[in-house]
């Protein structure tokens, strides 16, 4: 049975029709990539799902309308926005607030942040808006995953994360994958392709593709990678350095690890330096 139902959902802002009769069903265990260009209607659809917008048609989560049963529905929804809110309150207070309204234990949120490589306790007195983009993202993910969610709504969740944190994040998602439904919104499918088993593409307020995809890539897998170049390149060193790779003294051989679901994204980075590549080796590690 479907956990989430959108039936003929419409939304209009003055004369502009943003959603044009969306029909979509999502079951528990579904991991949906919600893709589409800017203005396609992804954010509006998510806001209707979170009960933040009034809309035409019917939206239900486990048989409840999010707008009318806000607290019951949102208690089981973890949301990570694409753009972090410019909150001035200290990190500790944000966690205390979120845990308080969600009836969750703040320690769980601190625990998740540690797994993402962020010591939230050490920065609990710092204002949230003074953190770096990556730290904010890790904290919002910690708040979303540090409680019992049945639905995760993630808007470009890993965009600001370093490769190590991405691997930690994918591990956390893997733990939730059978218990929860996930909607992962992105402009680009390749960013999220390995995380999902369904793809929903939107364009101009309509669903133009709704398909299941093979999800053979284990979210927790890890690949050992070796890249050989024909000549050293400063630009390549900079790009691969962001992935935590280490190079040989002459800058011709680079080695490191890539999270399994990130393989397509990693190859996308390498494709920019195709002419420089002498060889690429990607091998799944046993400890992944």
């Amino acid at each position: 049975m479907s956990m989430i139902q959108f039936q003929q959902v419409t939304k209009k802002f003055r004369r502009h029709q943003v959603l044009k009769g969306i029909d979509l069903e999502i079951a528990r265990g579904d991991r949906v990539a919600l893709v589409g260009s800017n203005g396609a209607g992804k954010t509006t659809l998510i806001r209707c799902l979170l009960g933040e917008y009034n809309c035409g048609g019917k939206v239900e989560v486990d048989g409840l309308e999010p707008r009318r049963h806000r607290t019951e529905v949102l208690r089981h929804v973890g949301f990570v926005p694409q753009i972090s809110p410019p909150l001035k309150m200290p990190v500790g207070q944000l966690i205390a607030f979120a845990a308080g309204v969600c009836d969750s234990d703040p320690e769980r949120m601190y625990g998740v942040s540690e797994r993402l490589g962020l010591d939230a306790r050490a920065i609990r007195h710092q204002p949230f808006n003074k953190l770096s983009g990556g730290m904010k993202q890790k904290l919002l993910i910690s708040i979303a995953l540090g409680r019992d969610c049945r639905l995760l709504v993630l808007d470009e969740p890993a965009a600001n994360l370093d490769p190590e944190a991405r691997h930690g994040f994918f591990n956390l998602l893997a733990e939730k994958k059978d218990k929860a439904a996930m909607i992962i919104s992105s402009h680009r499918l390749d960013e999220v392709a390995s995380l999902v088993n369904r793809v929903v593409e939107m364009d101009q307020g309509q669903i133009i593709l709704n398909d299941h995809v093979a999800d053979d890539v284990a979210m927790t897998s890890l690949l050992r990678a070796r890249v050989e170049l024909v000549r050293p390149s400063e630009a390549f060193a900079h790009s691969i350095g962001d992935w935590g790779f280490e190079g040989s003294d002459d800058g011709l051989v680079w080695e490191g690890q890539v999270a399994g679901p990130d393989r397509l994204r990693f190859l996308g980075v390498l494709s920019r330096y195709a002419a420089l590549l002498r060889g690429i080796q990607l091998r799944e590690t046993a400890d992944g």
Binding site: R47, L50, E52, Y53, N54, R70, T71, E72, V73, L74, R75, V77, F79, P81, I83, S84, P85, P86, L87, K88, M89, P90, Q93, A96, F97, A98, G100, V101, C102, P127, L140, V153
Partner: protein, 275 residues
Amino acid sequence: MKHLMLTAVADISESLRSRWFLIYTLVFGGVVVALFISGLTESRIMGFTGLSRLLVTYLQITMAILPLFVLITTVRSVAGDREAGIFEYMLSLPVSLASWFWGKLLGRFFVVFLPVVLAMFGAVAWGMIKGVEIPWNQVTLYTLFLISLAWCFLGIGMFISTLARSSDVATGAAFIVWLFLLLFLDLILLGALIREGLPPATIIGIALANPLQVFRTGAMLLFDPQLVMLGPAAYVILDNFGEKGYLAWTILYPLILGTLFAWLGYRLFRKGDLP
């Protein structure tokens, strides 16, 4: 109730770190310090002396700037929070809309009222140290007047914030409301009285509906029980209300008006799109 308190505390925490709060605190603290430095407590103008003189002046200044500060900071931060995406995130958490709205209102009330009353009690404390006689009855009623005035404009500010979709529009609307009420203190009323030949009771009725004028007249009444300074209008007020009745009106009317606007704002907020 737990969610309401959590929202109020979160809003206080946000506000205490805002630049507007710093300016706001400096303005009211600065006013009191400036009044002390200028030697106002030693003056004997129009019969007011000592701390009473200072309080009268402080109240007059507060009446002019408190509503504007409350309106502008409320609409800028509430509408600004919505524009910046704070509502989108915070309202994705399972907090009820009632707890969110009224918690925010309570939190903001605390931060707008605190600097004003702290400055006033700072003046009282200074007066006690200097051995000046403290008019406790006036201090208590002034505090109640300030609570009432701050709540009134906070309610209006929350109403404007929910009505206007952008912080620029909200700020403009808040400024117009303040200006409108300020003009109706004297200027327009006097003009209407002279040009249109309206009965004085109507004019005074309009004035009594203006929370700024209510506050102003209430403050006068504390020092001038016969309202000699107000002229013939005093007869209408005192005949209809009596001294104690008008003091009660000064406290209750702005409270009710603020609550009414806040409630209307809440109704709009609950019905509309949240972010």
